[in-house]
Symmetry: C2
Subunit: 107 residues, 2 copies
DNA sequence: TAAATAAGATACCTTATGGTATTCTATTTA
DNA sequence: TAAATAGAATACCATAAGGTATCTTATTTA
């Protein structure tokens, strides 16, 4: 079985608001242990832990066990994959916005 | 109830390979009817129709009924939302790549 | 060293997701 | 006008996703 096919589903990892918020939180600080991240959500620790596991599998975060806590830090390199995907479509929506502006100017 | 909250889940719409492939297909051609899109997948017409409905709700495609067929065309403006989100993190992964390059040069 | 804390591992539950098959209606085409 | 085609609407099903509660283990701290 190919493990890599299961790991790294970047788009799916980002499709959840809890996970996006977790990433956001990790931009402010160098690293955060699970229990501190959990504080900012209304769900239990197990649920947050699962979300971070998904982010970890998609290579968005790096987990490091220090003492009794597991600290997470951002690894934004995975976002490059999405960045590249989006930029392919960039031309399409930029054309549309340009056309729209032209239309508004005519009025 | 706020309909807009349900509509337009842009990240979720893009989290599925069938839907991403559909978007891809619509970049090549001006518009495509459902049955033509269906040909490129191994699932039934109903399933593809559902996927396009999700893309439509997220404002990624525009559906137009012409005769007995429903034609879809790309509306890439919704991708701007993801583009904006990603670009926030751009700095983070660019720094990492730069650090990595520096590390490789030292060897 | 006893108590508290952090979090992994399970088991479990409910709902969402991605698909099928079937029926129905509207529109072409032979 | 009869037959074929496109697709919407439903009903349905299996699995995945997102959550909980509980138990266990390792690490701090009083």
């Amino acid at each position: 079985m190919d493990d890599i096919s299961q790991l790294r589903d970047v788009y799916n990892a980002v499709a959840n608001p809890t996970r996006r918020k977790s990433l956001q939180m990790l931009t402010d600080v160098e690293e955060l242990p699970l229990h501190e991240i959990t504080v900012y959500f209304q769900m239990g620790r197990t649920a947050v832990s699962k979300h971070l596991a998904i982010l970890k599998d998609a290579d968005f975060v790096i987990a490091q066990r220090v003492g009794r806590e597991t600290r997470y830090r951002l690894n934004a390199t995975s976002l490059k994959e999405i960045q590249d995907w989006v930029s392919f479509y960039e031309g399409f929506w930029k054309v549309r916005v340009a056309k729209l502006n032209l239309l508004l100017e005519k009025k």
